[in-house]
Amino acid sequence: MDRFSWTTGLLELGETLVIQQRGVRLSDGEEKVKFDSGVLLLSTHRLIWRDQKNHECCIAVPLSQIVFIEEQAAGIGKSAKIVVHLHPASSNKEPGPFQSSKYSYVKLSFKEHGQIEFYRRLSEEITQRRWESMPTGQAMQVNKDSQAGRIRAVGIVGIERKLEEKRKETDKNISEAFEDLSKLMEKAKEMVELSKSIANKIKEKQGDITEDETIKFKSYLLSMGIANPVTRETYGSGTQYHMQLAKQLAGILQAPLEERGGIMSLTEVYCLVNRARGLELLSPEDLVNACKMLESLKLPLRLRIFDSGVMVIELQSHNEEEMVAAALEMVSEKGSLTADEFAKLVGMSVLLAKERLLLAEKMGHLCRDDSVEGLRFYPNLFLTQS
C-alpha cells in the first residue's frame, strides 16, 4: 500500500474515467487497513479509491505501477476480490497514506459486487497502456524499466512541461484576480469607514467634513465609475441632471408664478412645463427631485410641502404668511368663507385656496365649522375678542 499517493480525485487533462464501483474495501496485502468502504475508480491512467463517507480521503496509484492482476472468487462470508500486484514505489512518488509496506500487492474487495466487469476493464487498460499515449499534468512515475522509461519521458516531458506551465499561468491569473478582489475589498472597507465617519459628523454636527475627506470620497466614487459625483453636503440628494433642471425651471416658471399670485401646485407646474416642452417630457419624479434642489441652489423659487402633503412652488418673494393676513381680511369681510368661495373671490385654484385657509387656521387666525355642507372658515373671535 505504500505505492498509493494522496490525490484530489480530479481527473487530469487527458485522463478519462473508464469504470467505477462502489462498496470496495482496500487491503494492504493480507492486512485490513482503514480504507474500508469506498468508490473505486478506474481511469486510463490510474486506479483511484475515494472514501464513501469522507470524500476528502482519496488515494490513487498509477496503472503503470501494476505488474499483474488476479481474480479471487467469493466465498462464504467473503466478497470477491481482485489482487493487484505492484512494482515497488518510485522514489519521486507523491506522498501517500503509507510510508512503507511489507506487501507488494493490494486486495480490492468488492462488497457490492461488480468485480467481473471491473476486472475486465482493468485488464484492458493494463494491456492497452493508454496512459503512455495520453500524458497528463502529473509527474510521470518512472517504473522499473527505467531505460525505456527515460527515452519515452523525453518527448513526453516536453509536453508535460507545457501543460504544467499552462496550469501555473491559469493559477496565477486566478490568484491575481483574487488579489484584485481582495484589494477591492480593502478599498470597500476604507470607503465604509470613511462614509461612517462622514455620517457621524453629519449626525453630530461635529465640525466640518474636511476637504480631504471630501476629495477622498469623490475619488472613491470616481474609481467606481461614477463620474463627477455630487456630494450631499453641496447639492442635496439630487444629481447634476436635476441641478440643471432646477435652473431651467426657475427660468420657465418665473412669469407664470407672478401671474398666479406667486404660488402654484406641483401638478400645475407639471402640466405647464410638459405642455411647453412638447417633447422630452419630464417625469413627475424628476420634477420633484429638481424642485427639491431649488432652495439649496439659491434660485428665486422654492418647494413647499404643506401638512396635507400638497406640494407647491412659491416665489422666494412670496410670503404665504402675509397672504394669510389678506385672507383673514377677506373672511372677516364676508363673515365666513368656504375654500370654494374663497378660491372664486381670489382667482386661485381650490386646492391652494384650501391650503391657505388651513394655514390661517393653523396660525390661529381662523376657526373652522365642519359640517355636511362643507368646511367653512370664520375669523377666530376667541383670539381677537378675549
Binding site: Q240, Y241, S265, Y270, N274, S283, I305, V372
Partner: protein
C-alpha cells in the same frame, strides 16, 4: 451620454414621453370634472375623456396605461390614488383622506350609484353612527350628494358612480 436622471430605459424604449403626456391629460380631465364628482372618477370615464381629448390620430390608451401614469403622478403630492371598487377602479385626484370605511361604502354604492344608512347597516353590520360619519365625510369632500327628498330615507348619491351608469355628459 444621456443625463442620469432621465430614465435610461425610458429613453431607450421611448415610452417615457407617452406616460408623462398621459399624466398631463389625466390631470386636466380630473380638474375639469372635479366640481361634479368631488375628485373621484371611474377609470372607464377617465379613459373615455382622455381619449376624447387626444384626438383621432393619437395612440390608443389602455386602462393599464392610465394606471401606470396615475401611479407616477402620486409623487406630485396632490392626492392621486387608485381605489378598487367592485368591478372597477375609482381614480382619486384630490388630497382627501379616504379610509377603509370610505372605500367599503363606495364599493357598496357601486351597484346603484347611491347608498342609504339602512343599506350600510344591513350589509356591513355597522352602527348608525359609524355609517353617518362616513357618509358625512364623503358629503364634505363633495364626493357624495344628498337626496333628502328620497321616499323612504335620504339617499347618498355618488356622482363618480352614477355618471358611469347614466352615460356620458
Amino acid at each position: 451620454p444621456p443625463p442620469a436622471g432621465k430614465g435610461f430605459w425610458a429613453e431607450v424604449l421611448g415610452v417615457g414621453d407617452f406616460y408623462y403626456e398621459l399624466g398631463v391629460q389625466i390631470i386636466e380631465v380630473c380638474l375639469a370634472l372635479r366640481h361634479r364628482n368631488g375628485g373621484l372618477i371611474p377609470l372607464e370615464e377617465l379613459q373615455l375623456q382622455v381619449l376624447k381629448g387626444r384626438g383621432k390620430f393619437a395612440q390608443d390608451v389602455s386602462a393599464d396605461d392610465l394606471l401606470r401614469a396615475i401611479r407616477k403622478l402620486k409623487v406630485l403630492g396632490s392626492g392621486f390614488g387608485i381605489i378598487p371598487v367592485g368591478g372597477t377602479v375609482l381614480v382619486q385626484s384630490v388630497p382627501a383622506e379616504l379610509s377603509m370605511d370610505h372605500t367599503v361604502v363606495l364599493q357598496l354604492a357601486e351597484k346603484k350609484g347611491f347608498v342609504t344608512v339602512s343599506e350600510i347597516r344591513d350589509s356591513l353590520k355597522w352602527e348608525t353612527e359609524r355609517a353617518k360619519q362616513v357618509l358625512d365625510h364623503l358629503l364634505k369632500e363633495g364626493m357624495a350628494w344628498l337626496d333628502a327628498q328620497a321616499p323612504a330615507e335620504p339617499q347618498f348619491w355618488l356622482p363618480a358612480l352614477f355618471s358611469e351608469l347614466h352615460g356620458q355628459d
